[in-house]
């Protein structure tokens, strides 16, 4: 039995999405900028996808800019907003310490170009307290970027409160919602944000397709320049098959959001409780109350996560230690470190993330296999020490 519990890394495509991608690849090959019939068909496919994505996050279709995915959307949000605001004299950027590297490394790049940046720490539960943002924000803060749900521990940040705080000081708020869109209800107006990133492949869509929602009236500079695609905001011939897939994935997610969150949430809880019950020395990282329903992050006392991850994979069970770096090696999680957890606990943590194809049988299989593997690794480490 092969079990895939790494949905926060990426997800399998829904069959309807595969159909849409294949159909668009075959039948809708036109360039959406072309005047003729073929171009019109491609344009129609994009419009349809745009409406579906807008509906999923309660936005207006004209506010959706298609991108190549979450990383580009984050880059666009931060670089595009900061460049547009530079003439106003604002030279300060804020992000939470637990952001995805797409945000953290973009801030680092801007630091080298003269921007001040502040990373706001989170508490031990993995949630950013509005008070800490209040302390960090300055008169010349241009943009605050805080993720909606964290990729490693799943915690949901109080975005609406943070947005109110940012706006009170004249700053924009961007949220990387790559891990929440499609898993929980996301309403851009209720969140009160100015910019929101999303990615198709995190909710059963294809890779290489995503969007940045830009609230109407927000001043932005393009970061990909060229033709007048996407209302002059993001140049480049649109990835029609990928975006058609995004549209179908968005529609599917919107249609079953509540039911699927309840189903996956129950599986996640069953897994979490099963592990805590059967494996001694385990603890959940991050607030259990305020999380996306598919994610649990657990530290295993006296077990190196790297070894347990490999042992599980050899048993056919795919999980993750959080975020893997490009070479595929494992590094202590910056998220768990930012929560102030001991080095020990950050090196012993595994992330289990569930989704569309997960079943109770899979959960029970993992709960059955895990205690034996953990005990084996612990007995070997006892021998060595």
């Amino acid at each position: 039995m092969r079990v895939y519990f790494d949905y926060n890394a990426t997800t399998p495509l829904a069959p309807e999405v595969i159909d849409a991608v294949v159909r668009a690849t075959r039948d809708t090959f036109g360039n959406a900028s072309s005047v003729h019939h073929f171009g019109q068909q491609a344009k129609a496919a994009l419009d349809d996808a745009r409406s579906a994505v807008a509906a999923l996050i309660h936005a207006d279709p004209s506010e959706i800019v298609f991108t190549s995915g979450g990383t580009e959307s984050d880059n666009f949000a931060i670089r595009g907003a900061s460049e547009a605001l530079e003439p106003s004299g604002r030279r300060h950027l804020i992000a939470s310490a637990i952001e995805h590297e797409a945000v953290l490394n973009t801030l680092r790049a801007l630091t080298r170009r003269g921007w001040r940046t502040t990373l706001v720490p989170v508490d031990e539960s993995g949630i950013l307290s509005p008070d800490r943002l209040r302390e960090a924000i300055a008169d010349d803060t241009a943009l605050v970027s805080v993720m909606h749900a964290n990729n490693e521990i799943g915690t949901i940040q109080p975005i609406a409160e943070l947005a109110t705080l940012a706006h009170a000081r004249g700053a924009l708020l961007h949220t990387d919602a790559v891990q929440s869109v499609g898993k929980i209800p996301v309403d851009v107006r209720a969140l009160g944000v100015d910019l929101l990133s999303l990615s198709a492949h995190k909710f059963n869509g294809p890779k290489g397709a995503g969007a940045l929602w830009i609230k109407r009236g927000t001043r932005m500079q393009s970061i990909v320049t060229g033709g007048k695609h996407e209302r002059n905001r993001r140049a480049g011939t649109e990835n029609v098959p990928g975006l058609a897939g995004l549209g179908v994935a968005a529609r599917l997610a919107a249609g079953k959001l509540a039911a699927e969150a309840a189903r996956v949430g129950a599986l996640r809880d069953r897994l979490e409780e099963g592990i805590l019950r059967t494996v001694p020395g385990t603890v959940v990282n991050g607030a259990r109350g305020s999380r996306v329903p598919n994610t649990t992050n657990i530290s295993f006392d006296r077990v190196e996560a790297e070894s347990l991850l490999i042992a599980l994979d050899l048993e056919g069970i795919a999980v993750s230690t959080g975020s893997a770096c490009s070479s595929g090696t494992l590094e202590p999680s910056h998220v768990l470190r930012a929560m102030g957890l001991s080095t020990h606990r950050t090196q012993n943590s595994l992330r289990f993330s569930l989704g569309m194809c997960s079943t109770a049988a899979e959960v029970d299989h993992v709960v059955e296999v895990l205690p034996r593997l953990v005990e084996k690794l612990r007995s070997l480490s006892r021998k060595v020490s």
């Binding site: 790297e306 070894s307 490999i310 042992a311 994979d313 050899l314 770096c325 490009s326 070479s327 595929g328 090696t329 494992l330 590094e331 084996k376 690794l377 070997l380 480490s381 060595v384």
Partner: protein, 359 residues
């Protein structure tokens, strides 16, 4: 799996023989730090090569982060040795202190029975004869030179213990390098024509002096050249920059006689580098510490051939175990450049009897 052709073929051979093979690669140092130009880094590419080979032969593959252990077990020793006027042999330490300890433990925790590497060496079980008393019939593992004499790496494996050898497998040790490459081509392994790795893996620019200075900024950067009689003949910029037997790069003007000068000895406390003619490099004796015996430690002198560096033709000698972990070697004929820090490995033909670190 280093991403080179030898370990790739080792894995492919075992998989072909029907073993249940798990590919492991070690990330030993941070290749991303300070890297600004694209494509300038070799080692990440090597790890990717290992992954491609694993995919090609359809085995799981994992990269283990051993940066901390490598620094502690190999790099710090390497730097210490240079700082104390010795010439280290990091590959031997890496084999016995990392690959066949930490990596082997990790492999064992994953259920592996043995650790295979791409070394050109052989390990063979030998059933002890009936006259071995209580141990008659027990199996001892014998380490032998690789079949390809030009590629033999047994010199770097002398410090493996019996327990380590029990679980060591060297699938390419019984074939010549040309056959290894031929097999890689036959199997379409993506590394079949990759050049052999050179020198010290963690110093890709070969500037070991700069590496030592960077790791130990307090390393003394000056001192004097003296001749065999103690007379000062020049100034140098750090004892760690020299190796016994070295001729090039001394920056000395030729002696009055016009004969080239060689490094004869290093005296780190006095910050002196002793230089002299090649004839003064000859030694007939050496002592070795940290001796590892792969046979029962001999109670009397034994005859052996002794190899004192990687590219040295093992020379006939008499070896005596003078104390636990200590051995005295007397060569039949003088040897050039007996270098402290290198290994003296004792052979009986192809068989490694033991070895130690030259004092």
């Amino acid at each position: 799996m280093s991403g080179g052709v030898d370990s790739s073929v080792a894995a492919a051979l075992l998989a072909e023989q029907g073993h249940d093979v798990i590919g492991l690669s070690m990330q030993l140092y941070d290749q991303s730090e300070g890297q600004t130009s694209f494509g300038s880094c070799c080692s990440i590419d090597d790890l990717h090569d290992a992954r491609r080979v694993a995919a090609a032969i359809n085995i799981p593959h994992y990269i283990l982060n051993f940066e901390r252990q490598f620094q502690e077990q190999v790099v710090s020793n390497f730097v210490d040795e240079y700082a104390s006027g010795r010439t280290p042999l990091p590959c031997a330490h890496c084999n016995s202190d990392l690959k066949f300890t930490t990596l082997a433990e990790r492999a064992r925790s994953l259920g592996a029975d043995a650790v295979a590497t791409g070394h050109y060496a052989r390990v063979e079980p030998l059933r002890l004869a009936g006259d071995n008393g209580a141990r008659s019939g027990h199996v001892r593992y014998v380490l032998k030179r690789g079949v390809d004499a030009a590629k033999d790496q047994s010199y770097f494996l002398f410090s493996l213990t019996q327990a380590q050898l029990t679980r060591a497998v060297f699938p390419v040790g019984d074939r010549p390098k040309s056959a290894v490459r031929e097999y890689a081509r036959l199997r379409n392994l993506p590394v079949a024509d990759k050049p052999d790795s050179q020198e010290i893996c963690f110093i890709p620019d070969h500037d070991y002096r700069g590496f030592v200075e960077k790791q130990r900024p307090d390393t003394s950067r000056n001192g004097q050249f003296v001749d065999e009689h103690g007379s000062i003949v020049g100034a140098h910029d750090g004892v760690h920059r020299f190796t016994v037997g070295q001729r090039r790069g001394l920056g000395l003007t030729a002696a009055a006689s016009g004969t080239p000068l060689y490094v004869l000895a290093l005296r780190p406390t006095e910050r002196q580098v002793v230089v002299g003619p090649k004839s003064s490099l000859e030694r007939t004796t050496l002592s070795a510490s940290g001796v590892n015996w792969l046979i029962d430690p001999p109670t009397a002198s034994i005859r052996a051939t002794v190899q004192i560096r990687h590219r040295h033709q093992a020379a006939p000698a008499t070896v005596r175990a003078v104390a636990p972990g200590q051995a005295a070697v007397t060569f039949d004929a003088p040897q050039i450049a007996v270098t402290p820090g290198q290994a003296a490995v004792f052979y009986d033909g192809d068989v490694v009897l033991g070895g130690g670190w030259i004092d």
